[in-house]
Amino acid sequence: MISVRNLSVSFAKTQVLHDVSFEVAKGESFALVGESGSGKSTILKALAGQLKSWQGDLDIMDAPQGAGSKRDLARKVQMVFQDPYGSLHPRRTIDDTLGEPLAIHGIPDRDRRVLDMLDAVGLSRRFRFRLPHQLSGGQRQRVAIARALMLDPPVLLLDEPTSALDVSVQAEILNLLKALREEKGLTFLLVTHDLPVVSFLCDRLAILRAGRIEETTDVADLRSGQLSSAYGQELFRRSVDG
């Protein structure tokens, strides 16, 4: 589904990614784990077409990422951002936000699709014409997830989707993501520094450090604490110790 081979990215003179390679199968949930600055979000940006220059091969659904137009890419890959307070336009109602992808792609039947999507992400229909500042953080993140699913993309990129939320709300959002993935057969690529989130939501993971992949492994190894790299062990210990 997603294939990243020898991806290297430089900003100005600093190289932030060094020959990163991994594969994500269809329907799989894959996590990129690392501390801030390890380059994990940059990989998502490259896949979503938000980077101007990078080297290497990026394939999404067996076609090079840059092959089609931006709109074609948008139908394949959508993204959920980290901060639900910054990812919704402050002056547009939920209805406007969810209707926008439909308007861009000329998809008809806006009313029905918006209402269906509100139901799918567990938001009451009465929120439809509210502005973002009238919603809580968890509700906003549901809107952001709904927006990403409006175009029915098979791949969802999740950029620390729960790190800006309260702990109690985090669980709700993770459950929602898990349910949506099963229901729609989505492929997830999740970026996080939170190992419990990985073990709850993902099948496999790659550990990144300073722009290089330290190891790629199964989530079972994470649960049993059998990460092979020294850095992976260190992350695991820190996570257990809190």
């Binding site: 948008a74 910054g86 992808p101 014409f129 927006r147 175009l151």
Partner: protein, 300 residues
């Protein structure tokens, strides 16, 4: 359910109700601001006077009675008469039309132009920003009245050319404000999100960026109205705006200058009109700024 609770509902059922509700909240906030209401009152009065000028004016604005020249204010001529025996009140009333036309035309030309240039420069950044802002800086660095004078001198005197000249000198301020506003949110995730959805730059700028710059532009335009009226009056005063016999307020002051010591009312009455209308726009603009500030907006 009353109309009021329908408008203020937290859970509007239709797009229409949501829009009306937002509008009602703004209107209510404005009503609570007495100074803004005074400003609005003056603007409405100006609009009414301009609309009904032929019915309100007791005499003709252009035809005078030379036997009655330079009469002081009296029951027959509330504001007196000028050097050609024309009723100053009637001229001030008809002058409201000219003032209103100048102000509206300048706002309609300059504000969208400035908004477009500012948002494009701020959104794209890089060399587009440098070129557009360089151009803006050149216009900003020249004194407004002098530039307007130069344009009118080149285009020829007259009201239309005065409007064009003022508009050309007014847009850079709006471009600057819009750009500064865009820079505060150009890297926001809600813009990344529409980009990921495949929206074109034109769509992002017009539908997502511009609405966020709108309120500051509207406020600035309202506050600038006073300056526009004064520039127009200044051009009229220098004989480069409205031409005789048009009753433009600045031109009227200019003609009254010769009699200012003995017949003070000739220059003073149109001066009052300019001051009051400018004040009205200033007060209203201040009030608008208070309620359009997004941080205050959440309060119902």
């Amino acid at each position: 359910m009353t109309t009021r609770s329908w408008l203020l509902s937290d859970d509007p059922e239709t797009r229409m109700q949501a829009r009306l509700g937002q509008f009602y909240r703004l209107a209510r906030a404005l009503l609570r601001n007495p100074l803004a209401m005074i400003g609005l009152g003056i603007i409405v009065l100006l609009l009414l006077v301009a609309a009904f000028a032929p019915w309100l004016a007791p005499y003709s604005a252009v035809q005078g009675d030379l036997a009655n020249r330079l009469q002081p204010p009296s029951a027959a001529h509330w504001m007196g008469t000028d050097e050609l025996g024309r009723d100053i009140l009637s001229r001030v009333i008809f002058g409201a039309r000219i003032t209103l036309m100048i102000v509206l035309l300048v706002a309609v030309v300059a504000a969208p132009l400035g908004l477009l240039i500012g948002t494009v420069a701020g959104y794209f950044g890089g060399w587009i920003d440098r070129i557009l802002m360089g151009l803006t800086d050149i216009f900003l660095s020249l004194p407004r009245l002098i530039m307007a004078l130069a344009f009118v001198a080149a285009l020829g005197p007259g009201i239309e050319n005065a409007v064009i000249a003022i508009a050309i000198t007014a847009w850079p301020v709006y471009a600057r404000i819009a750009r500064a506003e865009v820079l505060t949110f150009r890297n926001a995730e809600f813009l990344d999100a529409v980009r990921v959805q495949g929206a074109s730059s034109a769509r992002i700028i017009t539908l997502h960026v511009m609405p966020l710059c709108m309120s500051s532009t509207i406020v600035r335009v309202t506050l600038d109205m006073a300056g526009i009226i004064l520039t127009a009056a200044g051009l009229g005063f220098l004989g480069l705006g409205a031409q005789p016999p048009l009753p433009e307020w600045g031109a009227m002051i200019s003609r009254g200058r010769s009699f200012i010591l003995d017949q003070w009312w000739v220059a003073t009455m149109p001066g009052f009109a300019i001051v009051i209308v400018s004040l009205g726009f200033c007060l209203f603009g201040d009030g608008l700024r208070d309620i359009l500030d997004p941080k205050q907006r959440a309060r119902g």
